[in-house]
């Protein structure tokens, strides 16, 4: 093979790679563009202050909105977070700080298994455990399902972050005569604080975008509700219902909901990402 053909082949490959990259990147911009274009025109004041109500309300042009879905998302996700954080962090600590414990490898296997599970199965499990035993769809069941989604993510990021905190820190603490739990809670966790919080943020963002488990557990509600034992509305599940509904006005509201959900999820996700990048740089240095 002559040098010329080798260079020619190199060039051809480069062009092909650029084209493939465009093929992946362009649809993304199309999606974002459509959501932004259709979403902003659907947003107005009543979108944030009114409940959805019956379809007739939208058809007659009376003010309706997704205020109840936005509030419901916040309530259900926060309750889920409160439930998931202790379990997630404890499992992370188990996998990183108690590596000699017989449960540590089991916990690692189970965490990665759960991490790979489709969220819809978390919904089925929460339905069988909570909805069936309490006698009806409820916001609480939704929170349980989302907590199932969050726990393995928090556990895994906590483990990774704890493991990259310098080993000297633990040795220093132990050599000063600190008991092991003090080393973990007073030295290792504070040093890894930013990373642990990031893991929680990422888990929160991931769960906030999940519709499947909520459709099977918190069900949805056209009106505002703060009762955890009753069905409650959430944005992702409402988006699905609006999109498959036969009403034009509801479709427009779906775009409005999509832009709110997209902004919410992406901002959370990227704040988390930035912190992780920063941590990675620090641990390289």
């Amino acid at each position: 093979m002559t040098l010329r053909t080798r260079y020619l082949r190199d060039r051809t490959i480069e062009v092909a790679l650029v084209l493939l990259t465009l093929l992946v990147v362009v649809p993304l911009f199309i999606i974002i563009l459509y959501v932004i274009m259709n979403g902003f025109s659907a947003l107005n004041f009543s979108f944030f202050t009114e409940e959805l109500g019956s379809p007739a309300r939208a058809m007659q042009g009376r003010p309706t909105g997704l205020m109840h879905s936005i509030i419901g998302t916040i309530v259900i996700d926060l309750v889920a977070l409160v439930m998931a954080v202790p379990f997630g962090i404890a499992t992370g600590i188990m996998m990183s700080e108690y590596q000699e414990h017989p449960f540590a490898p089991v916990a690692r296997l189970m965490t990665s298994t759960l991490n790979g599970m489709p969220a819809v199965l978390m919904g089925l499990l929460a339905y069988a455990l909570v909805v069936k035993n309490t006698g009806g769809f409820s916001a609480l069941a939704g929170s349980v399902a989302l907590a199932f989604v969050m726990v393995p993510i928090i556990a895994r990021t906590t483990e990774s972050v704890l493991r990259v905190t310098p080993w000297n820190l633990r040795e220093a603490g132990l050599s000063l005569g600190l008991p092991r739990w003090k080393v973990t809670t007073a030295l290792v966790l504070p040093a890894a604080r930013a990373g642990v919080v990031t893991g929680i943020l990422i888990a929160f963002a991931r769960a906030a975008g999940e519709a499947a488990p909520l459709l099977l557990t918190s069900f949805g509600n056209n009106y505002l509700s703060f009762n955890l034992t009753q069905p409650m509305d959430t944005l992702p599940q409402r988006l699905y219902s609006l999109a498959i509904s036969p009403y034009k006005q509801w479709h427009a509201m779906g775009w409005g909901g999509a832009i709110i959900l997209l902004l919410f999820v992406m901002v959370t996700f990227f704040v988390g990402r930035l912190v992780i990048r920063k941590l990675e740089k620090e641990s390289h240095a």
Partner: protein, 336 residues
């Protein structure tokens, strides 16, 4: 999602078992230590139990279906008709496998292209921009992509692609008709294309990690022999990263198998075989989402749970296969 790579650890795997002196041993039996450890063990056992509960509970909920139809005939029955109380999972299993493997086939080459371009060809700022964009794609909630698909992608594809092909086949190639079927807005091809788009970011991120693990020296040696960029890639980088890339592809496949909302919104929900390319179909997650809320009959309910049970096993199988491949990678590292 990129995790922080595990770098440091206890020196030579010694762990924290410093039971050398009486003093330290006594320290570790301190009440605070015991209490803390108990809490950690209790909370993490709950997580272990959760994974086991998932298999057990879903199995128990599905038991009536397995009793009524048997494990294998539930798998091979081609009809799913809740009204007639006949439940077979074959349409959904085939639907899941066909959409996932087709989507994977579509996604792998572009995804590898992006990963190679951003890690080997692009200047650092451009590479950062590409990585950022691809991560953005992974962050978009599935239901938002489904919404775009319903209102935008699917109708446009029907008018611009499916209808012309169908009309052409009607005149010129009648033998194709049984394969492509009459075009409906929400169909197999639409769902597969969206699915491919949705797994690309995972394949990209995982192959990028695999390529990133190739040592610098490997590349420099090839450069020093006068290789072009493509030859460096082809001969030095890709063979080294191969196992990692394969594991990444398997994990992306697991993603595709479980992808729920966008597929459920775009596949059109047809519960019996045969499926056609431009006609509606169904997958395991899509039937769970679309029928669960209407499942009042106990047998219907338990059959949906049974579909979930099989989905659990397919996913776990692919995940275990991926981690086995990855393990092979770490074992062969010294040898390569």
């Amino acid at each position: 999602m990129t995790d922080i790579a595990v770098r440091s650890g206890p020196p030579s795997g010694a762990g924290l078992q410093l039971n050398t002196g009486r003093l330290t041993a006594a320290r570790y039996r301190a009440p605070g230590d015991r209490a803390f450890k108990t809490v950690v063990v209790a909370l993490s056992s709950a997580v272990i139990l959760l994974a086991i509960a998932m298999a057990v509970v879903i199995y128990l909920e599905a038991a009536p279906t397995f009793r009524a139809f048997g494990y294998l005939s539930f798998l091979s029955e081609t009809t799913w008709d809740p009204v007639a109380a006949v439940h077979g999972a074959l349409p959904f299993i085939l639907g899941t496998l066909l959409t996932s493997f087709s989507a994977l086939a579509l996604a792998v080459i572009p995804a590898l292209g992006v990963a190679i371009f951003s890690s080997e060809y692009a200047a650092p700022p451009l590479a950062a921009l590409i990585n950022y964009t691809v991560d953005l794609l992974a962050a978009i909630p599935s239901v938002v992509i489904g919404l775009w698909g319903i209102f935008n992608f699917a109708p446009q594809m029907r008018d611009a692609v499916y209808m012309p092909i169908y009309l052409w086949a009607l005149e010129e190639a009648e033998w194709m008709l049984p394969i492509i079927g009459a075009p409906s807005t929400y169909n197999f091809v639409t769902a597969t294309l969206i699915l491919a788009l949705m797994i690309v970011p995972y394949t990209v991120a995982l192959s990028r990690d695999a390529i990133g693990q190739v040592p610098r020296e490997q590349r420099e040696a090839a450069w020093a022999l006068g290789a072009t960029r493509w030859e460096v890639l082809r001969k030095a980088v890709l063979p080294y990263a191969r196992t990692g890339i394969i594991a990444g592809i398997l994990l992306s496949l697991a993603r595709a198998l479980g992808e729920t909302m966008a597929v459920a919104m775009l596949i059109g929900n047809r519960n019996r075989l045969p499926f056609t390319l431009f006609g509606p179909a169904a997958t395991m997650p899509s039937v769970i989402i679309n029928e669960f809320r209407e499942a009042v009959e106990p047998l219907h309910y338990s059959s949906i749970m049974a579909v979930g049970f099989y989905l659990f096993f397919v996913t776990i199988g692919i995940n275990l296969l991926a981690s086995w491949v990855q393990q092979k990678l770490s074992l062969s590292k010294g040898a390569v």
